[in-house]
């Protein structure tokens, strides 16, 4: 068993070389952040009510956005992957648009669509936590959709055919075969969406404002701190890093099965 593991990934050496390069780009800045962080002062900088409030708002907003993305994003991904209809390729692309738009523009679009002066009616969403959740959802959902749709494209359709032949109707089939067969991708996509929602800044501040205790999430707190008290901004960033590392690592190991 052991013998097989040593160096037997079957990957060519060049792959390791390029991988190391990629790692460098991602890790060096993080190392810089860690090394220059105000470690001695960390506790003072973070132990304020304001920080706790921001953490609370951030968790509520990001978890709600992840849940929202999951509930509507997975079905949307299935429809995009499985149903043929005219104009599908345009729709499919529209879904990925929030990835491309600068977050400020997404915020402006949200104001036009769901703002107080929206042509579609008045929703009372700006400056509310619900509004922040909406902004985060719009930005985060495309991640989930793309992740799930990609997985669906590589699932052998004969498994669902087989389920149908065994008498399973569409809903049962979807729940017991369609969904579980791509579970790793759904988990990964939800984590991605959650992470993106946690880091969301531009659309939130434009659409939902920067109201303490209501829409001021950690990124908004960081950005406010950055212009006034850079040390606190770095401390808050480390906090976000820690929170997300803990969540991501525990999820990875528990939920994502290894082959």
């Amino acid at each position: 068993m052991k013998r097989r593991r040593i160096g037997s990934s079957g990957l060519p050496p060049a792959v390791f070389l390029f991988a190391a390069l990629g790692l460098l780009v991602l890790i060096v800045p993080l190392l810089g952040l860690l090394i220059q962080a105000p470690w001695s002062n960390l506790w003072n900088l973070l132990s304020t009510d304001q920080t706790l409030t921001a953490i609370r708002v951030s968790l509520i907003v990001s978890l709600a956005a992840a849940a929202g993305s999951l509930i509507v994003g997975v079905p949307l991904a299935f429809v995009l992957a499985r149903v043929e209809f005219p104009g599908k390729s345009i729709l499919r692309t529209l879904v990925t648009v929030p990835l491309v738009l600068p977050p400020v523009v997404t915020g402006v679009a949200l104001l036009y669509g769901f703002g107080n002066r929206s042509i579609f009616g008045r929703f009372d969403l700006p400056f509310s936590t619900t509004g922040a959740v909406l902004a985060a959802t719009m930005v985060a959902m495309p991640f989930l959709i793309l992740s799930v749709e990609g997985a669906l494209r590589s699932v052998d359709p004969r498994f669902e055919q087989t389920a149908a032949s065994l008498g399973a109707r569409p809903l049962y089939r979807w729940w017991h075969v369609g969904l579980p067969m791509i579970r790793p991708s759904i988990v990964a996509g939800t984590v991605l969406a959650w992470a993106r929602a946690l880091g969301e800044f531009g659309a939130t501040i434009t659409f939902a404002g920067n109201v303490p205790g209501v829409t001021r999430t950690l990124p908004l707190e960081v950005s406010t701190a950055y212009t006034n008290d850079p040390d606190r901004a770095v401390a808050l960033s480390l906090l976000m890093l820690a929170v997300s590392l803990i969540v991501l690592i525990s999820l990875r190991d528990r939920w994502v099965p290894r082959r």
Binding site: N116, R117, P126, F127, V211, T227, P230
Partner: protein, 222 residues
């Protein structure tokens, strides 16, 4: 603290230091009032107010942003309380002795300034029109604190910031003495609701106590 009345103060992020101190003092004097600072770029805040945000008090980075603001059909009362002046600063590690301070066009020299359109950017434009500093690579930052940060960190060699920002940076930056009285902004505050607490806070910003705080930070008198 649930029985405290909340007053939402929309303030420009460049005023964070000043208004945090004013908040503390006002709340000490009026324990039943909770001042909630909602910070952002002046334009963003103005747009949010135009879009119906419930702001009690608005304190933008320049009084012009209060122009044309109406509440419940009435024109609001913009009350000037301070001025601030744009100055050119350099990172303290930049050698300024023996060089032509009006020439920053050398290879590799970066000068940071506020982007056009925001109050500090307009004041910088006035300054540059009056004193023709030659600039090489210029980066247009979204707000003045970003300019200050870039100069402080030494990523940019020099920059244009408010006097209050220079003072807040201490020894990290040096004053190049390039400034002009006309390159300044006038700060004004306005109560947007007729709640007594809102008006009281606006009054407080114009009080002598507040003036002392503002003077310590480097603001001028209007």
């Amino acid at each position: 603290s649930n029985d405290r009345t909340t007053v939402d103060v929309f303030a420009a992020s460049s005023l964070t230091d000043a208004f945090s101190q004013l908040e503390t003092r006002f709340e000490q004097a009026n324990p039943t009032v909770d001042i909630r600072l909602i910070l952002g770029g002046s334009d963003t805040l103005r747009r949010q107010i135009d879009d119906g945000a419930d702001a009690d008090v608005f304190a933008p980075a320049d009084e012009s942003l209060l122009d044309g603001l109406t509440v419940d059909g009435g024109v609001i009362n913009a009350r000037p309380y301070a001025t601030n002046q744009v100055e050119m600063i350099a990172n303290s590690g930049v050698r300024t002795d023996g060089r032509d301070l009006f020439d920053w066009t050398q290879e590799g020299v970066v000068v940071a300034r506020c982007e056009e359109g925001v109050p500090c950017g307009m004041a910088t434009d006035v300054l540059l029109a009056e004193i023709p500093v030659r600039l090489g690579v210029v980066t247009f930052e979204p707000n003045v604190r970003e300019v200050l940060t870039k100069v402080r960190l030494g990523e940019a060699d020099a920059g244009f910031v408010y006097r209050t920002d220079r003072l807040s940076a201490g020894d990290d930056v040096v004053d190049l003495g390039i400034t002009s009285a006309s390159a300044s902004v006038r700060l004004a505050v306005a109560a947007l609701s007729d709640r007594t607490e809102a008006i009281a806070f606006a009054d407080f910003v114009l009080s002598d106590e507040a003036a002392a705080v503002l003077q310590d930070l480097g603001f001028g008198r209007p």
